[in-house]
């Protein structure tokens, strides 16, 4: 461990910033954040908050590093792509190179209401870096149920949007969105440029620093949206947006996104020609045995302790230890499910 003096030196410019100071820095160090998603927003937030001195980060992600990530997912390198490391694990390694003193838990799972709730026991703040509203609505309900603030952030193309939600004070995401929006434009159709990522992450990290340093009065009471290419910036005040009858934060709340009804078993992933297939119940696969079996049936197989990649007839399938699979080269969920079942039954 480094000495007290070294820690002081490391954060000297941040503690000179008057609203944080020594006291704020001490508060930041005590805090535990859950960062959901280790893609573009996830890596940007993780790096900034690690450098800022947050005590513990639980980093949750279901994916692994690919070449098309390097353009904007700032922690990753070509070596991570070659090793096909899961993003949470690769990010953890880079974060510890920046600061060996931060505690990082890398959790390689597809987030659900159940497994997320189990991870939130000691968490002070949730930072959203997911790529879909289904998961955000789960975060939103858990935030209200467990009374944990969260910071929504999203970007596509040159557009970004962010909002801080404080349970008991601000409106929640469900107050603003009556239903889950149909994903009109995704990274798939709209692409993404990296400054849209960093701009959203800058807003999210600033909000996180206010909350972690306990400068609650500084938290932004508005939804921010901007477009870096079309040169637009809009801040929307939310003084009348909180709904008394909101099912997530209102008087008669039921937390409708925690009952599992809304969960999909297959999903087309944002930004890629890929379908994810999830088994109905969690399993623990023996990847070495599966590799042997697939090798024998004509697949080109590669695997590491975390995942297995197999290819046949131009179709590539990546299977994780928990039974999840990514079927590449298709958007057809039925075909993807069939391909999955042809391997795992």
């Amino acid at each position: 461990m480094d000495t007290k003096e070294e820690r002081k030196e490391r954060y000297s410019r941040q503690t000179l910033f008057a609203p944080i100071g020594e006291r704020g820095q001490w508060n930041i160090r005590k805090k535990h954040i859950l960062l959901l998603g280790a893609g573009a927003l996830g890596t940007a937030n993780a790096e900034a908050l690690t450098r800022a001195g947050v005590g513990k980060i639980t980093l949750v992600d279901r994916d692994y590093v690919e070449l098309s990530n390097l353009q904007r997912q700032q922690l990753y390198t070509e070596r991570d792509v070659e090793a096909r490391l899961p993003k949470a694990e690769a990010a953890k390694r880079h974060l510890l190179e920046i600061d060996h003193g931060v505690e990082v838990d890398a959790i390689i799972i597809d987030a659900t209401a159940q497994n997320l709730e189990q991870l939130l026991g000691e968490v002070d703040l949730i930072v959203d870096a997911t790529d879909n509203f289904e998961t955000r609505m789960i975060i939103n309900d858990l935030s209200q149920k467990l009374h944990i603030p969260w910071i929504y952030g999203a970007c596509v193309g040159s557009v970004g949007m962010t909002l801080t939600i404080l349970p008991g004070q601000t409106p929640c995401l469900h107050c603003l969105l009556k239903t889950i929006p149909i994903q009109g434009m995704t990274c798939d159709t709209g692409g993404i440029i990296s400054p849209a990522v960093t701009m959203v992450a800058a807003h999210q990290t600033a909000e996180a620093l206010k909350i972690l340093s306990e400068n609650w009065e500084a938290v932004r009471p508005a939804l921010v949206t901007f477009d870096l290419w079309r040169n637009q910036y809009q801040s929307v005040k939310l003084t009348k947006a909180k709904k008394k009858d909101c099912l997530s934060c209102g008087d008669q709340r039921t937390y409708p996104f925690l009952n599992g009804v809304n969960e999909t078993k297959t999903a087309v992933l944002c930004g890629r020609d890929t379908v994810q297939v999830r088994p109905p119940r969690p399993v623990k696969l023996q990847l070495d045995k599966l590799a042997k079996k697939l090798d024998g049936s004509g697949y080109a197989v590669r695997f590491n302790p975390f995942l297995l990649s197999c290819e046949k007839d131009g179709e590539r399938i990546v299977i994780f230890e928990d039974g999840r699979a990514l079927i590449h080269g298709t958007k057809d969920m039925i075909h993807a499910k069939a391909a999955y079942q042809s391997i795992l039954g």
Partner: protein
Amino acid sequence: MIKVLLFAQLRDDLGKESISLEGNSWSVAELKKKMTADYQLASLETVMTAVNEEFADDDTILSDGDIVAFIPPVSGG
């Protein structure tokens, strides 16, 4: 006169940054319906609305001089 500001994809769909409409006393829902029909837009149902930079419901009634912004929710990350 009501001024409607268009953000992100909507700006490209309509080919301009804003439009002005004669009339008032519409609800936000009625304005969305009218614009969907007039400009052959895909549904504006899930688009968030601000009136004079304040978040507004579908049943908010608009007055002369209001500036309405339609903001499509962003999902990627």
